[in-house]
């Protein structure tokens, strides 16, 4: 059985949804930071408006990632050789969310330093916690994907049979 397409779809969807959590919760509702808040001080209309445009680009890319993941999942649903496992999918979502926090945290918070979790504090314990949450989510997600291995053959065979029957009817 090949569960990689399902893991890829779930991971990309988790990345997208993790991105929306960051963008909606941290950027918009709590307003702890924005995409370029370390470069553009958020105390003038011009800077705030400019930041909104870069935040918009971030959200647009997050939307694209989510849309592509829906397409991948649609393809998975039609494939008989890919297991239709809820546990693998849920694990993949967590894996993707963790990858988002880890990769975005390393690149944007540490390497490029264009923003930090709580911008008024600069690089702080919250950035370390953000990376840590990424690692924890990746570990949990991977363990869910891997421990579902034993159930996959049964699930896959059932799914294959059901799909074959549907095609036949």
């Amino acid at each position: 059985m090949n569960k990689r397409p399902l893991v890829a779809a779930g991971t990309l969807m988790g990345i997208g949804m993790g991105g929306f959590v960051d963008g909606i919760l941290f950027h918009q509702i709590l307003q702890l930071h924005s995409m370029l808040s370390a470069k553009l001080s958020q105390d003038t209309v011009v800077n705030i408006k400019t930041s909104m445009i870069w935040d918009g680009l971030f959200h647009a890319l997050t939307w694209v990632a989510t849309a592509v993941s829906v397409r991948l999942l649609w393809q998975v649903a039609k494939r008989a050789d890919v297991p239709w496992s809820g546990k693998v999918f849920r694990g993949s979502l967590l894996l993707g969310w963790g990858i988002f926090n880890l990769v975005e945290g390393i690149i944007d918070h540490y390497l490029l330093a264009i923003h930090h979790v709580v911008e008024r504090l600069g690089l702080s314990v919250y950035d370390h916690a953000f990376l840590g949450s990424g690692v924890v989510l990746i570990v949990i997600g991977l363990s869910m994907v891997r421990t579902s291995q034993s159930n996959l053959v049964a699930v896959a065979h059932t799914g294959y049979r059901e799909r074959s029957e549907r095609k036949g009817s």
Binding site: N2, M35, W54, L61, A65, V68, I107, V153
Partner: protein, 75 residues
């Protein structure tokens, strides 16, 4: 009359005048800030994580696919 003045002030308020592609001085300053010397650097900073995300997804999708299929053929 008072209502019309209130409406007029709402229409020409700073929020409206600051839309990035309006023909106002604030909008011009936003465009200057947006398309300044750091434009491509900022664009790169926004795109880089997503390039990494899509690469990771491609790696997951394609990595070891043939090996898995061969090891567990379908009934």
């Amino acid at each position: 009359m008072r209502f019309l003045f209130t409406l007029l002030f709402l229409v020409i308020s700073l929020g409206v005048a600051a839309c990035p592609f309006c023909r106002t001085s604030t909008a011009a300053r936003i465009r200057e800030a947006l398309f300044g010397p750091d434009f491509f650097l900022n664009l790169f900073a926004c795109l880089l994580p997503f390039a990494a995300f899509f690469m990771i997804t491609i790696l997951i999708y394609h990595g070891g696919k043939q090996k898995q299929s061969a090891a567990n053929p379908l009934p």
